[in-house]
Assembly symmetry: C2
Homo-oligomer: 413 residues x 2
Amino acid sequence: MKAVILSVGDEVVAGQIVDSNAAWLAEQLSELGVEILRHEAVRDVGDEIEAAIRRNAPDCDIIVVSGGLGPTEDDLTRHGVAKAAGVGLILDDASLEHMEQRFYRYGRTMPPRNRIQAMVPEGCTVMPNSHGTAPGFITSCNNACVAAMPGVPREMKAMFADHLRPFIEAMPVARQTVRVERLHLYGMPESSVNQTILHLMQRDANPLVGLLVSEGVITVKLTATARSADEAAALIAPVREECERLLGEAIFGADGQSLHGAVADLFERHGKTLAVAESCTGGLIGHYLTEVPGISRFLLEDLVTYSNQAKTELLGVPAETIAAVGAVSEEVAAAMAEGVRRRAKADIGLSTTGIAGPTGGSPEKPVGLVYCGLAAEGGTHVERLTLVGDRSVVKERAAKYALNILRLHLRIP
Amino acid sequence: MKAVILSVGDEVVAGQIVDSNAAWLAEQLSELGVEILRHEAVRDVGDEIEAAIRRNAPDCDIIVVSGGLGPTEDDLTRHGVAKAAGVGLILDDASLEHMEQRFYRYGRTMPPRNRIQAMVPEGCTVMPNSHGTAPGFITSCNNACVAAMPGVPREMKAMFADHLRPFIEAMPVARQTVRVERLHLYGMPESSVNQTILHLMQRDANPLVGLLVSEGVITVKLTATARSADEAAALIAPVREECERLLGEAIFGADGQSLHGAVADLFERHGKTLAVAESCTGGLIGHYLTEVPGISRFLLEDLVTYSNQAKTELLGVPAETIAAVGAVSEEVAAAMAEGVRRRAKADIGLSTTGIAGPTGGSPEKPVGLVYCGLAAEGGTHVERLTLVGDRSVVKERAAKYALNILRLHLRIP
């Protein structure tokens, strides 16, 4: 079964809005076993919408349209689709009543111009809108189904789940079951991951094994296609195990888990407490960790000691050490981690100190040089990183690297 | 002058990646006065790339392609474009040398398979890649220019700025001059902004006045179209002044400035120092402020005092106050701001304490309740916020609200 995704909207075409609807729909349809041929985004012009449907219909089984169902003169999807389908627009009484009641519920009277939203192509299947006014609809052009939904993501997603998804599942066109599992890694270069599992990444393999990289996190995506869910799961299992065996401790989680979520789970398991002293990361480690609900049981405090004075007064880093070797040094990273651990009476102390840039670098201590320290019962350990990127990227990588040091430390039983 | 934007990549079509390149290119081209007809995203299949170029070329003056220029078997943009242009691929010696030197600089030898990246359509104009290996190129199909660039955003953006933009500016096709100016606001509801400048937002106005909202920041976008840059600037000036007059102190900056950047500028102007004590925002205020280079001159420290003990020990918040009124209270917010100001000997102390959720709320103190405190020479001021959203959103809004309180405080001369 083949699909084309069509987004309608001047703002998408002019780049004022990133078209995240298309990506969401593509992912949903892919996981239903539908092959996506391409996406198009066209303007709010009736003829252009009609032309896009006509040119794509011969290639596919369904065209999934989002956007252009609002109440204004610029909302022309229903007109364009009806013309491509060769039918007129008729009033759908149930949709009109739904809309009037919706306005009534909010204490308002429906403006007359909203009436156009209850107009649908003759002979279509109406998809009610549980989160807004305009209904969607399913009609056809040249033997392809054409399904139109609103562009508001909340409305579109609910309509897809409630109506279009069951409709596609019931379509008498061969579909396969697709199962997707994901492993997330940190701390191993992409090229090494690629090299390690290259033999599993054949283009025609089932499951298909792919690599995605986003903000330093590498995801191994396993996609199995089969006739049943059980068969797909059985295809994935041995390949996933092979990946887990080969990639080992670089894997921090699966199926959408974040690095900070994995760290929080380890604190939960061990019941230990943490105190953090940040310099170049400026609070970002604290921000990541406090994205996790309930982290207050483990994270006692996070001291962003930007000035040398704060490092000395709050963490007890000797002023002489800073004077002798500089604030960006192995010694200061160690003293910061030990100092904050002692101050907060925490099980673990974590620290960062470095040069985020763009200024402040020197030949001996270039921009991107960062020390991460970890102090615990067994002693103190400092890692030296040389990161590449602008200020934001250096901060982000240093913060994630520090979280990864913490994860690897907690991982040991 | 008309353009079609074409993205190439299985991952875009399958929805694994949101196509932000297309939006970025559309915005850049729009600001050059180019009319964007539509976007397409197609898979890494040579025939499909060729077909997309052939079907779009008759409608437009230029097709801007991104993606599919990597070194693997799946990178087929150069093949598809060459076929659509009716030419073969030839080796570009300068590109090959650039690539070999790039590998050499990183202490590596270029793998043989990368050689394909130096192949370009015969007779094309090569666009060097200052941030990566694969060059881009400009060729033509059916009287339309076809410009192909890598899909890596960093490489694509630099190549556009350095090569494609000047090429388009020199194209002998009628373009209009478009000038865009932006005003950024915080702290005023979108509906109020809309109401206040509704009379300037007519659909056919020149400049066109639009509102965009992203992460709580409202942007008023003024877009003027004219025959010359001076004329466009003259059209915008009085409307911008009217907006500035009507929206007043809610405007924190213009043309891409961030809220934390505006706050940093005010510190720069006044030469004052800041200390922060965060609870529910967990380090996010520190993270925002430390995105600004040079902030270390003003930001002395940021203490994320998550535990009550840390609030008492580090900030001197009386344990009895916490016991009597709770950590999320006006009194504790005030004591935190005063305590961190005193500890760091800073001019200004800023604090947050609240309930980020999803648990920890009660009927008296619901999730989303946040107190922001500001202590300075003239006294201490606390604001009570009731924010709506999940944990991340509450943290983000509280941090930005606190920065806005700081901005409004520093704004007074």
